[in-house]
Symmetry: C3
Subunit: 306 residues, 3 copies
């Protein structure tokens, strides 16, 4: 199954070959991420953001513009006024007739899949529900691949909210295509869901679960941090305690490998200390910047083929 | 009077010849509604939406982009912050110096006309007050023309709120250029205003008014449905009763001609049952999609001429 | 120091030679302000508006589009949702990797300077804090230069809130590069700050302060009006009194030179009477329109050089 006209709904839909094709294309696109490649001239990308997301939305827009294409759409504010009446299906049918590709973000699980069933043009899931954010996961995996020139053989720690952070599920699904060791570090309350554990088992992934970064720090090649949100904790005191012990600082990284890289999907609040920015470990800004070539590659593969 | 540099303020300003020119141009534009025709390269369309309207705004934007042009402007949110101070005239003067054509939506009757008096560039009314939405009416008439290859001789039912739905007035004004029979179906409270009845009489239009769709269903070629809004009814119980009896469903269409088409300007809430979508009658999605070529034709005729 | 890749943070950073280069370039750009000059094809301008500003934002957007470039970004609504969490630095780093130039507006003093320190691409201050709005001041000075073919030798009145209106400081800083007489007219409460007076003294500028326009009207070549905001006055009665005596009307201009021009950065509320619009004095609409060629010149000089 090639990339042309393909929907991007779940990380599960992509195998190792798909990803290698994508990563090679993204590497090629890095040449143009600061200039312009006029291959999508006249194509329109519709952004249907029912939830706010400045970062993901703007990186898709920048990618489309760098490829010579055009953007229209709406953000969460217009969406909330629309939400009073029109069904998602009717909205998607409208965008389907106005554009060549639809990028959707929605708070409801399955919204992107439903949109793809209705639309005749390709649909990209820019995050829906709490379990899917495939293009962020592609970007994350691509960053690792660019840093190490491989993914196989790496030990990857994922730290923070492993239960509700939508990118975690997508990232682990993607990484199942590679031979990695996962170290899953979270408060008890935010351990991965049963479904994700079943998935890792069914794919024979190597993983272990931990309550403290210090237990595994010295073996990590990658530390992927996600935010812990206040609203997950009934007790604010408990939240403050947990948040404190899951912050990543220069001090908590004492004992890490010299070659450790720290990633974060951004935006961050304070779960990664700003003092880390100037250390050798910080790669989250590069990761963010790679969002442009990665999404250029996605748009190019889907709209023009390989 | 040709189309070049013309304002589009009221449906009354357009005669049969204007409309035929527009429809023929729109039909030509259908070829490019999914690709690109670079005839407005470098032209800027300003969207001044003082009221929200995702659908109308996006279809104008898509049309402009398909023609090679560019878009800037603001939506209702920015407008509401502007509304604290600046006069409409000053805002229009600003847009006039920033763009080549202005598309305006406003809650006040006459806002578009006032804008056109101030601006040196052409102004298009994308809906103002409760009596004018000429480009929606053009799109509606174009859809009928495309479906039947003519408008003359058709019997057209208009069902719902015939008093406050701005598109109804514009549509009937446009249809006065053709030889049609109108069947106006509405609750007592939402019958057409005196001015509209006077207009139909003065043009010698053939029309009749009804309280039930069933009275006229079997003779209809077109059924045009508009929403009945809750806020029109002082009594919520009365609203629920009326709404129920003016919903269009597969059942209420029993006895219709095989060739009946159902139109709706969208968005709909539940006045057209979703089960109708897959029937032979439903044309509202095609109608919505034709908004692109119709608005491409408008922009082309106004900015480049015939 | 040339213009290429330069940040525009404070009016103080620009000397007479810089301004003459800018004005000459803007004059050249007037030829293209209604058409298109494809010299920034493929370049992306990011607009980071943390405070609302329809006029400034749209004029930058129109300028970029007229030069063949592209725009992405966010307005104050998205910004307010972002503000809950992400630091300004992280937001700027994101835009830095998505664009070729960043235009920022922010309520905090120094925000633009901070952004410029972080970004690798040029940053333009579209207004921050209460003391800086350099591109508006450039536009204002350019309008004077275009009207009189010079700035030296003119007597320029500045009337209204001279304490909190951010453009006043920037304008006086720019005018210090020319040989002008300043007449500063304001209520006691809104006289210029100590720092601005010290600045004028240090540059040996000729200025005087007044409480009534009538004291200086007959000698003015230019009358620059800025709004007096209600929130500056603890006492609403005092505000109404002051506002009344600082409104500019055809009557208050009795006794002015025939060649007097009245400028205003817009938007205005009622501090310049609408009846003035049709008099020979009004130049604020031309001033607004010149925002396009002036900002085209800025973008061209910074992104392409002289």
């Amino acid at each position: 199954m090639g990339w042309l006209n393909r929907d991007v709904i779940s990380a599960l839909d992509f195998n190792r070959e798909d990803l290698v094709t994508l990563f090679n294309e993204a590497r090629e696109m890095e040449k143009y991420a600061r200039s312009r490649l006029n291959i999508l001239e006249g194509k329109i990308m519709a952004t249907a953001f029912f939830e706010p997301s400045t970062r993901t939305r703007l990186s898709f827009e920048a990618a489309m513009i760098r490829l010579g294409g055009h953007v229209l759409g709406f953000g969460s504010v217009e969406a909330s006024s629309m939400a009073k009446g029109e069904s998602l299906g009717d909205t998607i049918r409208m965008l389907d007739s106005y554009s060549d590709i639809i990028v959707i973000r929605h708070s409801l699980e399955g919204a992107a899949k439903y949109a793809a069933e209705i639309a005749t043009v390709p649909v990209i899931n820019a995050g829906d529900g709490t379990q899917n954010h495939p293009t962020q996961a592609m970007l994350d995996a691509y960053t690792i691949w660019r840093e190490f020139e491989r993914i196989d053989g790496l030990t990857i720690g994922v730290l923070g909210d492993l239960r509700y952070a939508r990118v975690v599920v997508s990232l682990i699904q993607l990484l199942s295509n590679f031979n990695v060791k996962l170290r899953l570090i979270s408060p008890e309350l935010l351990r991965p869901r049963r479904e994700l554990i079943d998935f890792m088992n069914s794919r024979g992934m190597s993983y272990s679960m931990h309550s403290n970064l210090s237990e595994v720090l010295s073996e990590l090649d990658v530390l992927y941090v996600v935010r812990i949100q206040r609203e997950r904790f009934p007790d604010p005191v408990e939240y403050e305690r947990v948040r404190g012990s899951f912050r990543v600082t220069p001090e908590t990284l004492a004992g890490a490998r010299d070659t450790l890289i720290v990633l974060h999907p951004l935006p961050r609040v304070d779960e990664v200390d700003h003092r880390l920015d100037s250390t050798k470990y910080a790669r989250y800004f590069r990761q963010s910047a790679l969002g442009i070539p990665l999404r250029m590659a996605l748009l190019k593969l889907i709209l023009k083929g390989e």
